[in-house]
């Protein structure tokens, strides 16, 4: 092989791998991206049943119902709209009524959000950033949230 051919093989091979990588990424972006929505967003954007989204808001006080062991129902609200959520499993350490929550899953045909993951991205002093933004947008942001969030301790469990 001449020097030129060697270089061609090298460059061609590199471009080939790069093309494969880009294709993989574009494909994955089409299939596996999950959008964050507040309950109002879900209504406005007409998120259909079966579309995977992240739903964020506050756990409505008094809405938490535990039925048959690990089956859990609660409402997620942003002050304007509420969406019922169903989940089966052990709730994260800091799941509480009246606090921020992010749930991942999809709406079913009856309009109930079927969550397979509940994220507890917060502790007692911290509100998930997405939830805080959504609450500000809907005008239901209270200053004491901001105060609490401004405390220098903002650890969260991933």
């Amino acid at each position: 092989m001449t020097r030129k051919q060697r270089r061609l093989v090298l460059i061609g091979g590199s471009l080939g791998v790069l093309a494969v990588a880009v294709t993989l990424m574009l494909n994955a972006f089409r299939d596996s991206i999950v959008f964050f929505n507040s309950p109002s967003d879900v209504l406005e954007r007409h998120v259909g049943p079966g579309t995977r989204i992240r739903l964020g808001g506050l756990v409505k006080s008094g809405s938490l119902v535990r039925s048959d062991g690990l089956r859990i129902h609660f409402d997620v609200t942003d002050g304007k709209t509420e969406i019922p959520v169903a989940y089966r499993g052990v709730l994260p350490d800091l799941f509480r009524e009246g606090q921020g929550v992010v749930a991942e899953g999809a709406l079913d045909n009856a309009g109930v959000f079927d969550a397979d993951t509940i994220l507890a991205k917060h502790d007692e002093t911290y509100m998930p950033k997405e939830v805080a933004d959504a609450l500000k947008k809907s005008g239901h942001w209270k200053d004491d949230y901001a105060q609490r969030a401004a405390l220098p301790v903002s650890g969260a469990s991933k």
């Binding site: 092989m1 990424m25 991206i33 964050f36 502790d123 933004d133 903002s154 650890g155 991933k158």
Partner: protein, 662 residues
């Protein structure tokens, strides 16, 4: 008094870093030996002052000086000594101090042991090192001063974030930082080489130990973090593709590529320009990692405090260093002469293959991590790029790399023999085929691809053994001759085999636990039992226990296998009054390399307790593999070749092309 002393020492360190960042470089340009020789004492003095500052901060923590704001916010006098010490870096300011301290240690090491370096290279490298130090010290002093006092000292501190109060955290951040900052040395050398416009095999020989050391620490740091997440977060997951995890994976991938391309450069003087670029990229990704976890862009356990000024400052550091380095690269890299030629099928070709796939895999992680941030900045859409994305991109790129890996070490330099290598790997391939068949036979259910994953893992492990077997001629020579050959093998060959075996082991663990792990979630009352993978776990009840700064509600569980008691598991819910925070302390029971994993929820009023019970087959292989990689790195590091330093040019000329394939 002590905090002020530390503060003052840090300012002096900044001053020295500024001198060190200018004088030696000017000296190197004007060939002034006096200015160049300032680098060594400056680096040592810089180290001394940073050490004083760090010691002062540590003193405040250990003796619980709550008049210091940082200590008040992150420590508590009730905490055991070890956590009072580790909380030094369990917060933003302290972790930056740790960053700078490690940087100073490394700078001093280069100054002390760099006597056989060309004077200009040493002066330039130490100068660049001081730029980084100065930037971070300025950052600490202006936006994150750990020595700030509060006028009225409180009586008790606010406590360290409970999930950080864990032995795993004692070594996870220092290890990661040793890795991140270790790449700063290769970065400095790369920039120094660009400034000089000259680079040779001796450069690679000098840089390789640093790459190896940084890579080893990073490997262990990532593995440690993953194990910590596994047992502390109570979900039983070992990797979440969380941005903060990706932040450490990106420099690891780039560093692994650098490790291999530096090898080509050292042996064959080829891939010079590429190696320099990788050195710049590895450290840039370390900086991006620091930026991602420290700036508050991401909300996670690592984002200790959110202060926009800090984000902007780190972003400026990022832009100046990465942008500057890449601009310098674009300008000066064409000056570097290209070296050794090689055929596509050769050891060099294999290492290029490795680099190509590693860099592409790294790029997918970079894109997946940064894309949501970019999108949010552009149009405000909030998305999450989770495991499905990375499984669909990173996986397909990593598998060819794994399959090709055993071929590399069996190939000769310059021109390799693919068929010969394939023949020698026949046994390994057969073993892999047996493993695939066996896992199909044993497993019921699980993804169809999983047995093939096991096959690839076995192929990688067997391939690593094949390399050693071929070199020592086991079974073909009498035993004592084999032993002699084994002893005569360069340590780096053993290192390669260990590290490659390790990655196979890790892959094995990941595939097994992902495909065949099982999970039970239930609410159980005392005397009730759960069955999982042939184990019977009986709930005996809960009791309370008090710790130094927490209260535990401990569940008591008896584990039986075919009716025989094999042990007890005691997971707990731990409440920390100082922060009114609760954590889940999972209980683990190892069975060989598999584990039973049990975590507890909050007890209900009727006495029942929600539990999560996992069976994690071969899960320990994941971290044992990382440990093997670390050992492999250590073996390579102890290789004679790296200790004796650069060979004299005269010797290299005697047999330039006829080096035996090793």
């Amino acid at each position: 008094m002590i905090p002020e002393l530390g503060h003052y020492a840090l300012m002096l360190a900044l001053g020295i870093a500024l001198i060190q960042s200018s004088m030696p470089i000017i000296g190197a340009r004007t060939r002034d030996p006096l200015l160049m020789s300032m680098a060594t004492p400056a680096a040592l003095a810089h180290f001394a002052f940073v050490a004083i500052a760090f010691a002062a901060l540590a003193e405040c923590y250990v003796f619980s000086d709550f008049s210091v704001l940082n200590v008040f916010e992150n420590s508590n006098s009730q905490m055991p000594l070890i956590y009072r010490l580790t909380s030094v870096w369990g917060n933003h300011e302290g972790s930056m101090m740790l960053w700078v301290s490690i940087l100073a240690v490394f700078g001093a090491l280069v100054a002390l042991f760099g006597n056989n370096l060309p004077a200009t290279l040493k002066a330039n490298a130490l100068g660049v090192q001081a730029w980084i130090a100065a930037a971070f010290e300025l950052f600490i002093l202006t936006t994150s001063n750990p020595f700030l006092r509060i006028p009225n000292a409180p009586f008790e501190g606010r406590d360290l974030n409970p999930i950080l109060q864990d032995p795993g955290l004692a070594f996870h951040p220092p290890m990661l930082y040793l890795g991140y900052v270790g790449f700063s040395i290769t970065f400095s050398f790369a920039i120094a080489a660009l400034l000089e416009g000259r680079i040779d095999a001796a450069w690679a020989r000098w840089v390789r130990p640093w790459v190896l050391g940084a890579w080893m620490c990073l490997t262990l740091g990532i593995a440690g973090g993953s194990y910590w997440a596994y047992y502390e977060l109570g979900w039983g997951g070992f990797w979440f593709w969380d941005p903060v995890e990706n932040a450490s994976l990106m420099p690891w991938l780039a560093g692994t590529a650098l490790l291999h391309s530096a090898l080509v450069m050292e042996k064959r003087e080829a891939l010079k320009v590429w190696t320099i670029l990788l050195a710049i990229l590895a450290f840039s990704l370390s900086l991006i990692g620091t930026f991602l976890v420290r700036s508050g862009v991401l909300t996670s356990v690592h984002a200790f405090a959110v202060d926009p000024r800090r984000g902007v400052f780190i972003l400026a550091i990022l832009v100046i260093f990465i942008g500057g380095a890449l601009a310098l690269y674009a300008w000066r890299a064409p000056l570097l002469k290209q070296g050794g030629l090689f055929a596509p099928i050769s050891r060099e070709g294999a290492l290029v293959f490795n680099n190509l796939f590693l860099v592409c895999a790294c790029a997918t992680v970079v894109v997946g991590t940064l894309y949501p941030l970019a999108l949010q900045a552009l149009n405000g859409d909030k998305i999450s790029v989770g495991p499905p994305f990375f499984n669909a991109t990173f996986g397909p790129l990593f598998i060819p790399l794994m399959i090709a890996m055993p071929f590399g070490p069996l190939m000769g330099w310059k021109r390799g023999d693919l068929l010969g290598a394939a023949q020698r790997l026949l046994v390994a391939a057969l073993l892999a085929a047996v493993a695939v068949a066996a896992s199909f036979a044993i497993s019921h259910g699980g993804p169809v691809l999983a047995p093939f994953g096991i096959g690839v893992a076995v192929f990688v492990m067997a391939g690593a053994v094949t390399d050693i077997v071929e070199r020592t001629m086991v079974l073909r020579l009498p035993f004592h001759a084999t032993l002699r050959r084994a002893r005569g093998l360069p340590r780096s060959a053993w290192g390669t085999a260990f590290a490659h075996f390790g990655i196979g082991a890790t892959l094995f663990g990941i595939v097994a636990v992902t495909a065949w792990g099982s999970e039970r979630i239930a609410e159980i009352k005392p005397t009730q039992s759960l069955e999982i993978a042939g184990y019977q776990v009986t709930f005996d009840g809960v009791f309370n226990r008090a710790g130094p700064n927490y209260r535990d509600v401990v569940g008591h569980f008896t584990v039986r296998r075919s009716g025989r008691i094999i042990g007890v598991m005691a997971p707990s819910r731990r409440t920390f009054p100082a922060r009114e925070m609760a954590t889940t302390e999972a209980a683990l029971m190892s069975r060989g390399v598999s584990q039973l994993y049990l975590s507890l929820g909050d007890a209900n009023k009727d006495g029942s307790v929600p539990v999560r019970l996992f069976f994690k087959p071969d899960v320990l292989m994941i971290w044992l593999g990382a440990l093997l990689m670390f050992c492999g790195g250590a073996l390579s590091l102890s290789d004679r070749r790296l200790r004796v330093g650069a060979p004299r040019p005269a010797r290299a000329k005697v047999k330039p092309a006829l080096q035996p394939a090793e």
